[in-house]
């Protein structure tokens, strides 16, 4: 569970389905790009803008040329599909990631530590 260090990225991820992709970190999947090429490999990380880092990738070009890459970075906008492995439960993965964010946000207890959302004191 690597939750992003940035508050902004955390909230973006928390309110969108990118969080499902973040839960796929460490799994081998195929990412299909919008130019009809495909990258199959292990997901290293996904950020809030859906930029994906993959490792040990089999990259199939849109012409069909296959190549092997150690690492691949795909911009979020270029993604069309992400295949989700069969053993992944979508609902459970989302909830786990949300809990991870929740833990990071409320780290240190209620009255201790720096608070992410200012307590409404008006």
């Amino acid at each position: 569970m690597e939750v992003s260090h940035s508050v902004k990225e955390r909230t973006i991820a928390e309110n969108s389905l990118v969080i499902l992709l973040q839960g796929l970190c460490g799994r081998v999947t195929t990412v299909e790009l919008r130019d009809e090429s495909a990258a199959a490999g292990r997901v290293t990380s996904v950020d809030a803008f859906m930029n994906v880092r993959l490792a040990e990738v089999t990259f199939t070009d849109r012409q069909g040329a296959v190549s092997h890459l150690d690492e691949l970075f795909v911009t979020g906008r270029n993604i069309r599909y992400v295949h989700i492995p069969d053993e992944v439960d979508i609902q459970a993965t989302i909830e786990e990631q949300l809990q991870a964010i929740h833990r990071v946000r409320y780290f240190g207890g209620r009255d201790k530590g720096r608070r992410e959302f200012l307590h409404a004191k008006h």
Binding site: S16, L17, L20, G76, R80, P85, I90, I94, R114
Partner: protein, 313 residues
């Protein structure tokens, strides 16, 4: 803390540091501290009561925000260090529990009631099979049909049990010199026809296509030599009568791509069927317009690529 043996590093990193004032309020910056102090200072002054704390000494008195109501004073008092223990009991710890309801992607899904995204949420709830039209850079790429598990405001969707029917986009010269149609005046209609043509290609049974073999073969042969538009129109008219009755089985709800008259529907169905015929007939050459289908168990679609979502009853 004030002893000479105080080790700040140990204090910061140890999980069991005894805090001198455990209930001290924590602030994120100096401005918060100032406004907190300001807020606490004003109510005692307004009520003309004796100053509550000596800690307020040295603070410049400034105009603060208006309306300090007793409830707020009560709340603030509970934050005060010196008056801490007695006030907290009065306040009740429950009043300051998570007053915000959690807002995350899962709780936002039912919020879109009354809007198209609310329809999507209905599909998640009721398990309605969805047809998602996927776009290529210009026009339709294909259709994903599956059950919706989750979505968000960008129309990113997580689908299960997905059958995808798609076609690779045609590039280069072929983009301009499509076998059946090539004139720019019909380009827009071509895109519409392409979508229904592709649908026609995968929804038709083989027997239906064989029935049209002869006519479409002549059509494709003549199309291969690059005829003018007028001739094609005539050909299409010729097929229209025959295609008329064949249209209805193949012309599912997929023809609702745009508002079209019956005439164009018939013409496009005929032309589309012929085009799918010539696609198959051209297999000795490289087949650019082949329609592919595949089954994927779980897929995530980025919302940017979604053209439209069609609910299957």
């Amino acid at each position: 803390v004030s002893s000479s043996r105080f080790d700040p590093l140990l204090a910061l990193y140890s999980p069991r540091t005894p805090l001198p004032f455990p209930a001290a309020p924590c602030f994120n910056n100096l401005a918060e501290y100032e406004s907190f102090q300001r807020g606490l200072r004003r109510p005692p002054g307004r009520r003309a009561a004796p100053a509550r704390r000596g800690a307020a000494a040295g603070r410049a008195s400034r105009r603060g925000p208006p309306a300090a109501d007793p409830e707020r004073i009560q709340r603030l008092r509970s934050l005060m260090v010196n008056a801490g223990p007695e006030q907290e009991g009065a306040e009740g710890g429950t009043a300051r529990r998570r007053r915000r309801a959690p807002r995350n992607v899962l709780t936002r899904m039912p919020l879109h009631e009354g809007s198209p995204l609310g329809e999507l949420h209905r599909c998640v709830r009721d398990g309605v099979r969805i047809n998602v039209h996927i776009r290529t850079f210009k026009g339709l790429r294909g259709v994903c049909t599956g059950f919706l598990v989750a979505f968000d405001k960008f129309w990113n969707m997580a689908l299960t049990d997905v059958d995808e029917t798609y076609r690779k986009p045609v590039m280069g010269k072929a983009f301009y010199a499509e076998p059946q149609l090539s004139l720019t005046r019909l380009f827009d209609r071509l895109k519409l026809q392409e979508s229904s043509g592709k649908k026609g290609a995968d929804s038709k049974t083989v027997s239906e296509e064989l029935a049209l073999t002869n006519d479409s073969q002549t059509l494709s042969l003549r199309a291969g030599s690059g005829r003018g538009k007028a001739e094609e129109e005539r050909e299409r008219q010729k097929h229209w009568g025959r295609a008329g009755e064949k249209k209805t089985p193949g012309d599912r709800s997929e023809a609702d791509v745009g508002s079209r008259t019956a005439h164009t529907k018939g013409a496009s169905a005929g032309g589309a069927r012929a085009r799918s015929q010539s696609r198959r007939r051209r297999r000795p050459k490289v087949d650019y317009q082949q329609v592919f289908t595949r089954h994927i168990n779980q897929i995530f679609i980025r919302g940017e690529n979604v053209l439209l979502v069609h609910l299957a009853h």
